[in-house]
Amino acid sequence: MTPTKSGAEIIVQSLIDAGVDTIFGFPGGRVIPIYDVLYSSPIRHILTRHEQGAAHAADGYARVTGRVGVCIATSGPGATNLVTGLATAYMDSVPIVALTGQVSVNMIGNDSFQEADIYGITIPITKYNYLVKDAERLPQVIKEAFYIACTGRPGPVLIDIPSDLQTARVTPRKLAPVKLPGYAPVTKGHPRQIEAILKAVKTARRPVIYAGGGVISSGASKELRRFVEKTQIPITTTLMGKGVFPEDHELSLGMLGMHGTKYANYTIYESDLIIAMGVRFDDRVAGDVQKFAPLAKIIHIDIDPAEIGKRVGVNIPIVGDLKSILEMLNEKVETTARKRWLERVSQWKREHPLTYKDNGSLKPQYILEVLSEMTKGEIVVTTDVGQHQMWAALYIKSMEPRRFITSGGLGTMGYGFPAAIGAKVGCPERPVVSLSGDGSFQMCIQELATVRMFKLPVKIFIFNNSCLGMVRQWQELFYNKRYSSTVFEFNPDFCKVAEGYEVPAFRVTEPQEVRKAIDKALNMDGPVLVDFRVAPGENVMPMIPAGGGQTDFIGEGDD
């Protein structure tokens, strides 16, 4: 007779079988049996100080490595604290498996202590979720969850596990192959559509590539680069697509959209063919779909059929995995000379470069410019959300995929620092810099304890302007300068806070100190916090107001 195992042992064994070596989590009453098994398992457990931190760390880990990130929390508040992290991952298509404890099966639905219907709560923010009620099913469910999380369009999967299942005795059985009759992502592109694309590319006079996070998920950056170099078509990327194509390349136009470069947006607007790859025509990219690219035919390549035709009409849709589609295209695509178009694009680049006024004060743009220049795309950068995020997107030149980690879809303040923890754990060989605003950083500031405890050398750069800069900017531009609740009349001394956590910290107030400060931070052992006291009142420019067309730029910095 096969000896029985506890549900918790089965869970941990299933994680190991799925290739998991690290999980991020926070214990609690309903996951004690799992933690008991973890205590003597080969899996590395990173204890965060808040479940939200664990979810974001798992997300950062997944984005940097391309593998599934795993987090764990107890029932009730533990589980609900994961919600923001799951929604963040869902919006940006990041593969995560989240395990939550639940009250025992016979107590479900009784408003028991620390009970929350996390299954119901997470239906709209997960790719799939489970409430397991039979311990025998655990191995199969975990196997399925990993499969669902990382195939097709990736996304988070939650498994809710009642505590009595964790202690139940189960006879391990052989696993059946995953069988999901309703789930079969299309990967190969349709040959007829491939032909249509080739034809459209050949005849286009003013084509542009608009590439996003889907290219990264598909691992298709190399194929994309080959396509660009063969076709000589200029390329702009979304925030999520940063790094799919080296941004120092002459055909790179940087980011497009609300805070994109002028030249990227002008190129889109005047193009006659848009080749959209792994993107979703988000409202921060195409504020007004009528005035996005009025003259262009649109090719849309995506693995998710529901994205095609969602916001804009598409002329040539093709569903499939970008890597395989680009390989098919690269085999046959021809070079077409479009000298005039490329000249026009480079003229826009010359006429509308990114600029900011250098008035001797400490400008956030300058810090990022220096950081980018000093590190040459070789570091991993995570960001929080707001002005510093947009400046980072504009001024940090990304050279490789999975090196610019940011919450694009949900725009989660508090994401960046815990994501940097996950990134560092997933990619220990590269320096990891966590860029935050003073607003965002305070949303997950408790994770200073995590970097200290695990001696994770995360470099924390705070762009401290003592206000919620992006909302303040909107108030300045659209709400008559009524700065309602966006100026912090009190802010903690971040250096002293860091000191309390035994994380070294120093402050930078002058532009002349920037280079030395970055050098010092990057070369120190262990974590460090740098409090950059940046000029308040600085706005992110260029800017297209919400709902605007691709050429509707406003505000200062206009040239």
């Binding site: 239906i123 669902i148 309703g182 998710d304 059929p305 529901a306 969602k310």
Partner: protein, 167 residues
């Protein structure tokens, strides 16, 4: 635009909330929803009648297909499908009017399933038009209670045949 959508799903708890959630979020009122097991015990058929903008309904259909538990989504056209709904109707009927109700019921093929002191209960199966006609024919009687199952539907194979041979 009114649409009837037939959805085959894996039969397990929670799947209905996944499906109905997609409609609710976009503010679509589901006019009717009926679910029951199919010839395969692990597969349930959900038939939904919903109205809304065509483009957005198409988007909802795509989102439905994306759900892991959804095996198949079919847009059923009224002209190409058989639709049926079961109605239970209890109306206030004075004794001297019973005969009239029985006659009306008979002429529609509805069945009288209960007679109480002051009420009668009818059972009727039909398509939407016939149900409406029956309800109108009885509108002089005050309704005590009305229960409808929601529409179930299947494609009309005989209508589909020529198309199939073409393929």
């Amino acid at each position: 635009m009114r649409k009837m959508i037939s959805i085959l799903v894996r039969n397990h708890p929670g799947v209905l909330s996944h499906v109905s959630g997609l409609f609710a979020r976009r503010g679509y009122n589901i006019e009717s929803i009926a679910a029951g097991v199919t010839e395969r015990p692990d597969v349930t058929r959900i038939t939904i009648v919903v109205s809304g903008d065509e483009l957005i309904l198409e988007q909802v259909a795509k989102q439905l297909r994306k759900l892991i538990d959804v095996i198949k989504v079919q847009d059923l056209k009224y002209s190409e499908s058989i639709t049926r709904e079961l109605v239970l109707l209890t109306i206030h009927v004075p004794r001297d009017k019973r005969q009239e109700v029985v006659l009306t019921a008979n002429s529609f093929g509805a069945e009288v399933v209960d007679i109480a002191d002051k009420t009668m209960t009818l059972e009727f199966v039909g398509n939407e038009r016939r149900i409406n006609v029956l309800l109108r024919a009885l509108e002089n009687f005050k309704v005590k209670e009305l229960a409808r199952t929601g529409f179930v539907a299947l494609p009309l194979e005989s209508q589909l045949e020529p198309e199939r041979t073409l393929l």
